[in-house]
Amino acid sequence: MHRLFAALALSLAPLAALAEEVTTYTLENGMEVVVIEDNRAPVVVHMVWYKSGAADEPAGVSGIAHYLEHLMFKQTETLGPGEFSETVAANGGTDNAFTSYDYTAYFQRVAADRLGLMMQMEADRMNNLVLTEEDIVTERDVILEERNQRVENEPGALAREQLRAAQFLNHRYGVPIIGWRHEMETLGMEEALAFYDLHYAPNNAILIVAGDVAPEEVLDLAREHYGPIPAEPNVPERFRAQEPPQTAERRLVYEDPRVSQPYLTRSYLAPERDAGAQEKAAALVYLAELLGGSNFTSEFGRALQFESDIAVWSSAFYGGVSLDDTTFGMVVVPSEGVSLDDAEAAMDRVIADFMANGPDPDQMESLRTQLRASEIYARDNVQGLARRYGAALTSGLTVEDVQAWPDILQAVTAEDVLAAAEEVLDKRRSVTSWVIPNQEVLSQ
């Protein structure tokens, strides 16, 4: 057990003085505890993050992590159907949960003096979930309707699924978090409980409490409620099948009459933030901003929307919090009368020019300022800070990595950005997707 203040962990003056106050502990059963103090309002966010997500599912049962997330709101040995959320609401709180590739997380937002009750209930459902056949059948219909709403009714989402599947040749990141429909239809009690029994345990979980709390009190409550739950000795090592060398560019055309505006996206396999080695990812953050962050001042924006009339919209994006290799993406929506072919060629010319000329020094400095400011603005949202820690700690990073990240971002140089671009923007590791309403678009 140790206690760590952010202000001590950082050495650079301005950002260190602004950093949030974070205290960490580890319970004897292996559960990690992170406390973020913010006494501006009498509110607390209580979160439990499991280091298991969609990418940890066995083959053939895609969507089981997310389906289980839904089932966790049913009943336990002591709480009746729906009683968990009813109790949160009866205390003026709100609750929800979310599933990603690398984590599944549950949270409540309540008055700070209700923290103990939240822990009591969350600890209860970590070990005592009860499922009925009726819940299984009804909730499976609900997740299928969720898939209908988020994916089947959204041509852009269907296109993204195909792109990810083509991007990842071997890794589970190529399978949708919500699941492939034909596998979701077969999910049942046995699969849900198998995933629950193996993954829902204190030694696979991180407790994050953020808000108007004292760290010692959180520790006492955590010991009382989570402490008695035994560790699960069989929690599997988090090894997912890794990507082989990607050596062939992939190209897709996704056709759907519901597409109103043809567009193209490209995704490249890219390194993620690694513990103790986040510099390359920091450079990729700049690269995304420089290429396509602002429609007015980025390379894509300037070349495709201002100096020419090739695009009506363009963007580049990168998210570095991921346990395994992630992606670097870009999108161009051509102006009316501009073909996808011409738009893609123009996009590639912008990239080539950037590689030849390097980043604009003024833009580099402006981004540095904006990233520093974003740390100040981020402190206004304590739930956002809690999510930042939860996502990082379930994706292989440490509290020290999270706290070092703003300074690592400040230290990125133009050379770092170019080196990262050289490595990542390799078409052999890319997928380019054209999203169109019909084939006639291609012959225009």
Binding site: A41, G92, G93, T138, E145, N148, F306, D309, L367, I376
Partner: protein, 437 residues
């Protein structure tokens, strides 16, 4: 996610919240009123500005002018073209978010203490001296038209547009504030300049400010920001009459899941029964509790991922609306269950236990909304937009507690009219046809 977050809907009710925040009423030397919470923990200020009027002030035949004008405010001002303006803003790491709604123009600002004066001077130029360069107009017009095209293919947007058109006809509420491809294509620079003069006026400004700033500093800042805008704006539109009859409209669209928007008339925000109606809706279809609609349509039958209802008191009409989405072969059943629940609640009312649970939730949840400078500033300006006094915060929970079972069930019988509910359904729904009750 177990439930879809409904930030937009919740924002309506944020105005009812309260907590231990100390609000200072500020009047600038130039006469602009603002509400301020001074809090110095984080070195920035969040500013929320609303000007009543918004897209309702579009002139006949110029639908979309206000929207296009507002989108152009960040596209160059004074001697700076769009790129120069944005370069200056980015160097200050300030954010200016301009938005437009039917009833109002909205501006959300975040600025660091270290360069606040420069950030506000730049913002002032955008508000007072926007350039509206022709190349910017054409570029942003193309983006707006791309958005209109995309809405024409989105089932939810199709449903909204059809519902509003049938409900409100020629009133501005009857059409999308984006305008149509034809109306937006025809807009000239003169139309944009005129929209700017009509919509950004000083007589209808409301301001909420939270953060690292004193009352004196805020007063001076507001005078600098808004001096130079016209003193008065044009007359606001007439009341909008809701013309939609009970029934079902089916709009054929080839997609696997049908979406339905439903509703009838609602209740004005200043109606003495509003608190009762507000609690009633929380029980029927609110997102905080396990509502009756969620229980019956989702938990019991698995017919949807989400079903919600909400009161929508607008400036010129009051609506009671809801939404649901279900696979084409299940939407008919979902609609039947919703109508049955609407009827059951109108006829039988809520139970004493339901009323108590809703009160407990609503009164307990209210202080939780006051965390964060940006969120508090939004609440402050929202309260002003619906004419609530500063001390409303202290009485709000007592008003919720005061609603009796008799009261809420009388309101249920008056407000909920199952036969007047109109469902606009977009998709390939099985077993549903366009009907009028």
């Amino acid at each position: 996610m177990i439930r879809l977050a409904l930030a937009a809907l919740l924002a309506l009710w944020a105005t009812l919240a309260a907590a231990e925040v100390e609000i200072e009423e500020v009047t600038s030397p130039g006469g602009i009123d603002a509400w301020l919470v001074e809090t110095r923990e984080i070195p920035f200020v969040a500013l929320e500005v609303r000007i009543r009027g918004g897209a309702n002030l579009d002139l006949p035949g110029k639908r979309g002018a206000t929207n296009l004008m507002v989108a152009l405010l960040e596209e160059g001002a004074g001697d700076m073209d769009a790129q120069a303006f944005q370069t200056a803003r980015e160097a200050l790491a300030a954010s200016y978010d301009f938005d437009v709604y039917d009833d109002s123009f909205a501006l959300s600002v975040q600025a660091l203490t270290e360069n606040r004066d420069a950030a506000m001077a730049l913002l002032r130029q955008a508000l007072i001296e926007p350039r509206f360069d022709q190349d910017a107009i054409d570029r942003v017009r193309a983006q707006v038209i791309a958005g209109i095209r995309s809405e024409a293919n989105d089932p939810n947007d199709i449903a909204n547009a059809a519902f509003d058109a049938a409900a409100f006809g020629d009133h501005p509420y009857g059409s999308d504030l984006d305008g149509t491809i034809e109306s937006v294509t025809a807009l000239t620079r003169d139309d944009i300049v005129e929209a700017h003069a009509r919509v950004l006026t000083r007589d209808r400004i409301h301001v909420g400010a939270v953060g690292d700033i004193t009352a004196d500093e805020l007063g001076a800042l507001l005078d600098k920001l808004f001096a130079g805008l016209p003193a008065e704006g044009p007359t606001l539109p007439e009341r909008a009459e809701f013309a939609l009859q009970g029934g079902i409209s089916v709009i054929d669209y080839d997609t696997p899941q049908s979406v339905a928007l439903f509703g009838h008339t609602g209740m004005a925000r200043d109606d003495p029964d509003f608190f009762a109606a507000f609690i009633l809706n929380e029980i029927l279809g609110g997102s905080g509790l396990g509502s009756r609609l969620m229980t019956e349509v989702r938990e019991e039958r698995g017919l949807t991922y989400g079903v919600y209802s909400y009161l929508l008191p607008r400036d010129h009409a009051e609506l009671y609306l809801g939404s649901v989405a279900s696979a084409n072969d299940r939407i008919a059943e979902a609609i039947e269950v919703i109508r049955d629940e609407w009827r059951r609640l109108a006829e039988e009312g809520v139970t004493a236990e339901e009323l108590q649970d809703a009160k407990t939730f609503l009164t307990g949840a209210y202080p939780l909304r006051f965390d964060g400078n940006g969120r508090i500033a939004s609440i402050l300006v929202g309260m002003q937009m619906i004419d609530l006094p500063v001390d409303y915060i202290a009485t709000r929970n007592a008003n919720v507690e005061a609603v009796t079972l008799e009261e809420i069930n009388r309101v249920a019988a008056e407000l909920l009219r199952p036969d007047a509910l109109h469902f606009t359904v977009v998709g390939k729904p099985e077993g549903l046809e366009t009907t009028t009750n």
